[in-house]
C-alpha cells in the first residue's frame, strides 16, 4: 500500500470515495495468522493456526468461547480481538439475564458490526484491527459470520481469514457444497485440511493448531490436543495421491501410518466414495 495524502485520518475520504484507514485496518487482518470456519446444518467448526512470537513464548489465544452456543476465531490484532470477545460475552450474559434465552447469533454480529462502524466515523478513534469469524447456533440452525474492521459482516458456509488464507479458501471453495450435510467428523476433517493448506508444506500437528466445535446439543468447546492429533492421524493415514500443494503429504502420510490405527484405515477407505469424483483425490 502506498502512502498518500488522504490516509492520515479515518474521517478523510479519498477522491475515489475510499477510506484508506479502514482499508489499512483490513490489511492488519491479512497479516495475522490464519483462522478458518465452516458450518454444516447442525454444527460449526472453527480452527486456527497457533503462531508463537518465538520459540520461548506461548502462542496467543485466537479462539474464544462467547457463550455455550457462540464461539469466535480472530485474526489480526489479537488485543482488539480480546476486547471484542469480552464485549460479546457481556452482551450474551445480559441478553440471557433479561430474556432467559440465548442471544441469537445474527443479533450479536449486527451489534458487533455497529460497534466497528463507530470507529470508522470518529476522528478520535481508530478502526479495530481484527477480523472475527463468529460461529453460532440459533433456532434456525448453525451460522458462520465474518465481521471485518469496516463494520461489514457477511454470512458464510465456510471462510478463512489471515495470512495464506487464500490456500484454505481455494480448498473450501472446492468442497463447500458438501458441508451442509457433513457429519461431525467430516466437518472437522475439512477444517483441519483447510488449516493444513495455510501451512504451505509444514507438517500439521495438534500443537500448532486449535480446533473448536459447537453444534445442536453440543455446547461450544475447544478440542483437546490428543483428540485433534487423533483426527489428524486418521485422515493422514490414507496415502494420498498428488494433489495441489500436497507433495509433502505423501511423506507425512507414511509417518502418520506408523502411529495410526490399522482399523481406522479400513473405515476410511469405506468412506472413500466421495460424491465429487472429479475433485483432487486427496480429500478421501
Amino acid at each position: 500500500m502506498f502512502r498518500n495524502q488522504y490516509d492520515t485520518d479515518v474521517t478523510t475520504w479519498s477522491p475515489a470515495g475510499r477510506l484508506f484507514q479502514v482499508e489499512y485496518a483490513m490489511e492488519a487482518v491479512k497479516q495475522g495468522s490464519a483462522a478458518i470456519g465452516l458450518r454444516s446444518k447442525t454444527h460449526v467448526v472453527l480452527a486456527c493456526v497457533n503462531k508463537a512470537n518465538s520459540e520461548l513464548s506461548s502462542h496467543q489465544k485466537k479462539i474464544f468461547k462467547v457463550d455455550d452456543h457462540i464461539g469466535v476465531a480472530i485474526a489480526g490484532l489479537t488485543a482488539d480481538g480480546r476486547v471484542l470477545s469480552r464485549y460479546m460475552r457481556s452482551e450474551c450474559i445480559n441478553h440471557s439475564f433479561t430474556y432467559e434465552s440465548p442471544l441469537p447469533v445474527g443479533r450479536l454480529v449486527v451489534q458487533l458490526a455497529d460497534k466497528a462502524q463507530v470507529c470508522t466515523q470518529r476522528s478520535w478513534k481508530r478502526p479495530f484491527g481484527v477480523g472475527l469469524l463468529v460461529g453460532g447456533l440459533d433456532e434456525s440452525g448453525a451460522h458462520l459470520y465474518y465481521n471485518c474492521p469496516s463494520g461489514n459482516y457477511f454470512e458464510y458456509q465456510a471462510f478463512a481469514i489471515g495470512s495464506r488464507s487464500q490456500a484454505a479458501k481455494t480448498y473450501l471453495e472446492r468442497r463447500f457444497e458438501n458441508f451442509v450435510d457433513s457429519s461431525w467428523d467430516d466437518l472437522i476433517k475439512d477444517a483441519l485440511i483447510a488449516t493444513r493448506e495455510t501451512l504451505q508444506g509444514e507438517k500439521l500437528r495438534s500443537s500448532i493448531c486449535t480446533v473448536a466445535v459447537m453444534g445442536v446439543g453440543e455446547p461450544f468447546h475447544i478440542l483437546d490436543q490428543e483428540t485433534v492429533q487423533q483426527l489428524i492421524d486418521k485422515f493422514e493415514l490414507v496415502v494420498e495421491d498428488e494433489g495441489p500443494a500436497a507433495e509433502p503429504d505423501a511423506a507425512a502420510a507414511e509417518e502418520g501410518a506408523e502411529e495410526g490405527d490399522a482399523a481406522e484405515q479400513g473405515g476410511d477407505a469405506g468412506q472413500g466414495a466421495a460424491p465429487d469424483e472429479g475433485v483432487a483425490p486427496m480429500e478421501i
Binding site: K65, R86, R89, S90, I93, S96, F97
Partner: protein
C-alpha cells in the same frame, strides 16, 4: 394531620425454612418446598435451593422474587468469573460475592435470608450464614427462615461443641458422617413442620461431596 403511611409494601414473605450442615468432606443443604403468602399456600413444589458453582449451593428463604433476582445475578457473575479466571468460583469466594451483592442494596435490601453450603478449596465442608444485608460468618451449621427459631436450638443441642470456652477451639465442622447428617436434617424438618405453618409439603436435600452433587426429596406433612 398524621403522617401518610404507605399502604403498599414492596416485600412479601413466602415463608419456608432452610438448613445447611458442614461435614469433614461433605456438605448438606436442605430446604422445604412450600411457598406461601399470608395464610395461603401458593405452591407445594417450589425449590429454594440454587446451584451457584460446581461446589457451591445456596438455599434462601424470604421473599422469593428477591431470591430469584439474587440467584440470577450471582449466576451471571459466576459466568463472568469463569470467563476471566478460567475456573469455577470456590465456595468462600462465592460467599464474599454474596455478601457484597447483598450490601450493595443496603438501603433497599433483598428480602432474602440465605445460607450457602459447599466445599472449600481443601475439600472440607463449609457453610456460610447471612442476614438480609450481607453480614456473614462461616459456621459448621445454620438455619434460616420461618422455622429457624425451632430448628436452630435443636442443631445447637446436637452439633455445637460442649463449651465455647473450650481450648483449643474445635473445628467448625460436625463430627457426623454424611448419612448421619442427612438423617439429622430429616428429623429437624419433621419437627419444624409440626409447629411452623409455613414449613412442610416436601423436603429437598442437596448433598455436596467430592463426587459431585446429589439431590433427594422427602415427603413432609402437608397441613
Amino acid at each position: 394531620m398524621t403522617k401518610q403511611q404507605a399502604n403498599w409494601s414492596p416485600y412479601d414473605n413466602n415463608g419456608g425454612s432452610c438448613v445447611a450442615v458442614a461435614g469433614a468432606d461433605y456438605c448438606v443443604v436442605a430446604a422445604d418446598t412450600r411457598m406461601s403468602t399470608g395464610y395461603s399456600i401458593l405452591t407445594r413444589d417450589y425449590s429454594k435451593i440454587c446451584k451457584l458453582a460446581d461446589k457451591c449451593v445456596m438455599a434462601s428463604s424470604g421473599f422469593q422474587a428477591d431470591v430469584k433476582a439474587l440467584q440470577k445475578l450471582l449466576a451471571a457473575r459466576h459466568l463472568i468469573y469463569q470467563q476471566q479466571h478460567n475456573k469455577q468460583m470456590s465456595c468462600p469466594a462465592m460467599g464474599q460475592l454474596l455478601s457484597n451483592t447483598l450490601y450493595y442494596k443496603r438501603f433497599f435490601p433483598y428480602y432474602s435470608f440465605n445460607v450457602l453450603g459447599g466445599l472449600d478449596s481443601e475439600g472440607k465442608g463449609c457453610v456460610f450464614t447471612y442476614d438480609a444485608v450481607g453480614s456473614y460468618e462461616r459456621v459448621g451449621y445454620s438455619s434460616q427462615g420461618s422455622g429457624s427459631t425451632l430448628i436452630m436450638p435443636f442443631l445447637d443441642n446436637q452439633l455445637k461443641s460442649p463449651s465455647p470456652l473450650l481450648l483449643p477451639a474445635l473445628d467448625a465442622v460436625t463430627p457426623l458422617s454424611e448419612s448421619e447428617a442427612v438423617d439429622l436434617v430429616k428429623t429437624v424438618f419433621a419437627s419444624a413442620t409440626e409447629r411452623d405453618i409455613y414449613t412442610g409439603d416436601k423436603l429437598e436435600i442437596v448433598v455436596i461431596n467430592a463426587e459431585g452433587i446429589r439431590r433427594e426429596y422427602i415427603e413432609l406433612r402437608k397441613d
